[in-house]
Symmetry: C2
């Protein structure tokens, strides 16, 4: 999660909503990414999607056994992508009560589809949330 936070910090520096993600397989980091929606002008460029795409280039479409660490609870698109690519575990930091699909709005990872994902939320929650708060506070001031 510390690496995912580093990625979120990079997004912050780029004036992107500071969310980072890291994919780990057997204790080894196989992909890391940060949110790039603004830079790419593309709402699908969430950190988690970029991470899954990067990992898929190496491992193929199935990411069985992998853990996805994200600083913010994944949205519907990202949880859906994790289910499709058969990620085994999602560990996230801050909860997203408006859009989070790993328990907040809905728990899509648990039993809705033909693949379920173990989810652990609230890991390093304060640090992950603090970065988001700092970002949105700076936006309100500007």
């Amino acid at each position: 999660m510390r690496l995912a936070l580093e990625e979120a910090g990079r997004a912050f520096e780029l004036d992107e909503i500071p969310v980072g993600a890291v994919l780990v397989n057997g204790g080894k980091v196989i992909a890391r990414a940060h949110n790039l929606c603004e830079a790419g002008g593309d709402a699908t460029s969430h950190a988690e999607i970029l991470c899954i795409r990067e990992a898929s280039r190496g491992l193929g479409a199935r990411l069985d056994g992998c853990t996805l660490y994200c600083t913010l609870e994944p949205c519907a698109m990202c949880t859906g992508a994790a289910i499709l690519s058969r990620v085994s575990r999602i560990v996230f930091g801050a909860f997203d009560i408006r859009a989070g699909c790993c328990g907040s709005v809905i728990d899509m990872a648990d039993g809705w589809f033909n693949h379920s994902i173990e989810v652990i939320g609230g890991v390093m929650e304060e640090e992950c949330a603090a970065l988001l708060h700092a970002f949105f506070s700076s936006k309100r001031r500007s």
Copy 2:
């Protein structure tokens, strides 16, 4: 939908699950794509995602006013991407009772998040479903 079916046909020829998608804005086709999961070894390469990414390169991250035509009911990832990019309408052909998130498993487009999408399902359903059945029948025979 006829164009989306053409795209699905291209996926079929490439031995991909035959799903196609077309994005239309003001009566004009702004993106068209077919499923490329096998070719790219990437479970996120659904026709709808590729379409939204292509359109975003031209129009930016917000696709207000656009209609997404897809031959199969969008999954969680694709419906989530359509919500994030603020697509106005989804028109789909065949229903997906196992993974469809525009009414079959869940209706994510209607009221769950801060953007809702008008959905029309079952348009040219027989043709869209027939292509999928033909694909899976050929797989079972081989």
